[in-house]
Amino acid sequence: MSPEFSIEMKSIHKVYPDGTVALRGVDFELRSGEIVGLLGENGAGKTTLMKILSGLLPPTSGEIYYNGKPVHFRNPSDALKLGIGMVHQYFALVPPFTALENILLGQEKAGRLSPLDLKGAREKVKALMEETGLSVPLDTPIELLSAGVQQRVEILKVLYRGTDVLILDEPTSYLTPLEVEELFKVMRRLKAQGKAIVFITHKLREVVEISDRIQVLRNGVVTGKLPASEATFDKLAIMMVGKEVIPQAVRSEAEPGEPVLKVKDLYVMSDFGTMAVKGISFEVMAGEIFGIAGVEGNGQSELVQAITGLRRPVKGEIWLKNSNVTAFGPRKLYSLGLSHIPEDKSKFGLAMNFDLAENSILGRQWEPQFAGAFGRLNWDNILKFTDRLIKSFNVVAPGVRTPVKSLSGGNQQRLLVGRELSKEPSLVVAAHPTRGLDIASTVYIRELLIKMRDAGKAVLLVSADLDEILELSDRVAVMYEGEFLGVGDIKEFAREEIGMMMGGVRVRK
């Protein structure tokens, strides 16, 4: 008698080498011929769990059973041999190769020097396309195909290897609504052919529409398992983000003043050529923290880059105090009082091989106290200033002339935050300011942001960490697929309501 589930994962734990605990005893089951939705916000552990099932990561502890027998995967090809394949969120295709070549990549049944059997392979791929309804132009280079078609190539690539268990990680991230419909049709067809599909997502509507069963993860723990027929948006939202009320940090009531930042009907393009920000308008007042919640990849990065001068908007206006700054670069914006704590400190905010002193003037290098006549750097002042930053922002560092890469992440962020907040800004834009930091630095940086607010600065906080948004914000907006689903006073929203909007369900007008 064959077991009820074709795949069973039992009590899976995963601790990353850096000490991050991603999974704390997760069970997961899958039958053939069903679609299971795996729901959760950033860092819930969805992708980690499925990387373990597809052999990409070893679990720290726990067992995997395949048709009732325990199995151990050393690498993805072990999993593929049993018919388990994963399509990742970020495509792994070779842009100048044709679709056919990409599908065959790694599966060429030929010696190193003997010619490829392209003809036979083409017939097989064609049959596969026929069977699944996934059609792609086989002879077009990948770089000329849209994201939706590239995704089909990825799926074909996995199916061509004889997959019975198909894992799709956030497959609808870069798709248009029409392409999502197409994808769902294909998924239903594959299901009818007896394949099992895991659908990783944070989108509530989609998970309810396509799944047979839904499993919800939060902070590495299973918070819900239910048939899709019994799922409601608010039930799922509570499972996804929890219900507990986060106390607002101890502080006075906000006393908002004049608007400092005004964003009007803003459109911003992503690197993939899709519209990442679709007509957003909002204002941030002096003396308030305006929080933007949302699962990452819903246009927050592009929005922040547009506001901070790193990306030109396609349409719309940005006003800082009384100037239209829509086309301004970073330098002009800084001189008008912008402080920017970027989302990726090692990419934008710091030069890792530069020392503390050189990093303490990054973005401020033309200030008269640092650069005098003929652009001569005033090292006396720079070193004194760095010393002051280290002392007043509690940066632990061996010396001002040490490369910042030798500092811990928390201390790097303290230096960066210190540099930005000591500018006497009128607007502070903070993107994921505490991501990946130790608890002490997290608390410290959150306190600093509140201090800025109390000193009458306008603070725009973007964070995928819902707790952080709830703790710090006076007003909040939830961003989903490039739009704000709700904007209002933080007290107006219940936690699960924000969770539903993060999953794309608008609660009220």
Binding site: G309, G363, Q365, G399
Partner: protein, 346 residues
């Protein structure tokens, strides 16, 4: 511990030298030469007498400058190997002003020096603009420009600048345009002070000015540079142009600052490969203008002392070059490794 970290590059270079010497001696033993005798001759040849030291220093002048061309490129995130061609043009510019114009003494030297620097810079403009406007990779464009410069310079040397009656070389620099020889009988001239001053200037520019800071920032982390409001295009242009000036000065130094020729051979024989040698010198000097001065002296010592290996220890000149090459490669490895690591990370 702090002084230890500061010493690390020097310790690395020293161990690289030792490795290079050992590998070189293995090679010599294999071909039945006597390594110890050969190395003694090398050292004695390079530093054995005042005259030898002066000669070693004379060898160091052009390559410390072409090293700056490459080092500036690396500091901006570029692999600018155009020094060779820019150096040819610098030599041509110096020949034209020093040999054809008649100017008062001091002014003539300055004008010829300047002509070399400007010609070198001009030759770097097109690769620079191609990079900034069209994103053409600098390795491709500078290699192509090196070849164009090679044939163009030979053409100019033969058809416009040749010394009447002596077609194998150009008109010599007039006495008013020559840097004074420092010690009678040596080939070291006062042009070495100009080269040192230029290295110091570049050092000050890179670490003492805002523009230099931004240039290094662009090379270190282009995203952070954008965040900091620094223009990558401007940094790349400056890096190319200043590198061209350095290479042009290197070429000029061989015309108006290096006896006995005081002119350019029509084969370009008295300047060829000085631009490429600068790459090795820059790597040994850790892409630092002051490190380049020391590395160039070491390189000059190998070039000059190598001749002694040949006639004192009986090592064939091809073998001398092979051994010098091994030492240079060993010395370049630490910095080369750092550059490779950085480009992989990107």
């Amino acid at each position: 511990m702090r002084w230890l970290r500061a010493l690390r590059p020097i310790l690395e270079s020293l161990s690289a030298i030792i490795v290079g010497l050992i590998v070189g001696s293995i090679l010599m033993v294999f071909f039945k030469y006597q390594p110890l005798k050969a190395y003694a001759a090398l050292f004695k040849g390079a530093f054995g007498s005042t005259g030898d030291i002066l000669e070693t220093l004379a060898f160091s002048v052009p390559i410390m400058l072409t090293a700056i061309t490459f080092a500036l490129g690396v500091r901006t995130g570029l692999f600018n190997i155009g020094a060779e061609g820019q150096m040819y043009l610098g030599a041509i510019g110096a020949v034209a002003v020093a040999g054809l114009l008649h100017l008062p003494p001091v002014i003539h030297v300055l004008a010829a020096t300047l002509a070399g620097m400007v010609a070198g810079a001009l030759w770097s403009v097109i690769p620079a603009l191609l990079k900034v406007w069209r994103g053409v990779h600098e390795v491709i464009s500078t290699i192509m420009f090196n070849w164009i410069a090679y044939h163009f310079s030979i053409y100019l040397a033969i058809y416009f600048l040749a010394q009447p009656g002596r077609a194998e070389r150009t008109v010599p620099a007039l006495p008013t345009a020559r840097y004074p020889v420092l010690v009678e009988g040596s080939t070291l001239t006062a042009v070495i002070f100009v080269a040192w001053a230029f290295c110091l200037f570049v050092y000050f520019y890179l670490w003492g000015t805002r523009a230099g800071y931004e240039l290094r920032l662009v090379g270190e982390n282009p995203h952070a540079a954008r965040y900091a409001g620094a223009s990558a295009k401007k940094a790349i242009l400056i890096s190319f142009l200043l590198g061209g000036v350095a290479a042009g000065l290197a070429g000029a130094s061989q015309i108006i600052g290096r006896p006995p020729a005081w002119s350019l051979y029509a084969t370009l024989g008295n300047v060829s490969s000085l631009g490429f040698d600068g790459i090795g010198v820059a790597l040994i000097g850790r892409n630092h203008p002051l490190g380049g001065i020391l590395a160039a002296i070491l390189y000059g010592a190998l070039a000059h002392g190598g001749r002694y290996m040949e006639y004192q220890a009986g090592v064939d000149s091809e073998m001398v070059r092979a051994i010098n090459g091994i030492i240079i490669v060993a010395l370049s490895i630490p910095e080369l490794w750092a550059i490779i690591k950085r480009s992989i990370k990107r």
